[in-house]
Each structure stands twice: as C-alpha cells, then as structure tokens.
Symmetry: C2
Subunit: 100 residues, 2 copies
Amino acid sequence: MNKFGIYGKLVAVEGQRDALAEILLEAADVLQSFEGCIMYVVNISENEPDTIWVTEIWEDSEAHGASIRIEEIQALMKRGRPLIAAAESTRLQTLGGKGL
Amino acid sequence: MNKFGIYGKLVAVEGQRDALAEILLEAADVLQSFEGCIMYVVNISENEPDTIWVTEIWEDSEAHGASIRIEEIQALMKRGRPLIAAAESTRLQTLGGKGL
C-alpha cells in the first residue's frame, strides 16, 4: 500500500503529559474529517513518565504537510508547544497489515 | 479507551528485511480473525536500511499473550526467527485517536 507513517515522540514538560495528550486527542478529532490522514493515535509510554508517542499514517507526506496548515491544527499546535520539552520522529513507509 | 500498544523494532539479518516483512504481513493476515488484535501494521524505516517497525494495538496484554499461542503464528515465528538480528519493543498505553 506504501503510505507515509510517523512515530512521533513528544517529551512533555514535567507534569504536563496529560494536558499535552488531551490537546493531541483534540487534534485527532479535527483530523477525523481530513481524508489524507489515515491514522492519528495517541499513546503514553509504560516506562517513560513524561513521554507520549503519536502513531500517524498519511496518504503521503504532502497530506501530512497540508494538515499542518489547517487553522484548527495550528491553534492546537500553539497551545501544545509550551508543554513540549523535546520532540523527535521516526519516518516510516507503511506496507500494510490489520486495522488500516 | 486504554488499550495495550507495542512498537516492535526488528532489525533483519542483512538482505533479509523484505523476506521478514512478508512473514509479518502473513501474521497480520492470520490476526484478521483474532478479535483481541485491534491493529498489526508493518512498516519499514526510511533511514535504517534493515529495520522493520510493527505497530500493534491489543485489547490488553492477555490478548497479545494469547496470539503467540496460535498455531499459525507459532509457525510464522519459527520461519521469521532466523531472519532477525535484533529486536526491541516499546510498551504503550493507547489512549485513543483517529483510525482505531
């Protein structure tokens, strides 16, 4: 199928993980109506106390780029940014599987 | 929603990544009929040449444990094991999002 995937790791400012997760779940709600987004799932880590992992699958990297220009997403990014201490991401090519 | 998630990283023996990915996609097919498995998606890394990431979401860790006892999964694990040079995993609590 060859979709564009991202594992996004966000380390929250101490004590702000749940507030940040809430904002990311709001982003997932906004993306419900955005066709280029196939998956946007928010997870917390069992072992890393301030860490959130976001599992993303997009039709292609252009769809991901377009999502960042959605006004509601930009507003959520503005709210979320002060809660983020560090961020990194792993870029993937999604081959297929169950649950897509 | 509080499901059990795993990011599984598999580093294939050199030259065996695609053969290993094929076996993992077969596992995803077997899991289509296993209710405790919500997601089992196979990805290759853009930057790490021999690396496969499997995104898994299960009803709970017991469902994951039960999947390993499925006869067809055991046969696939037996075929896949010689192709794996290294493995690690990140355990997650899945909160929710789009595409579940």
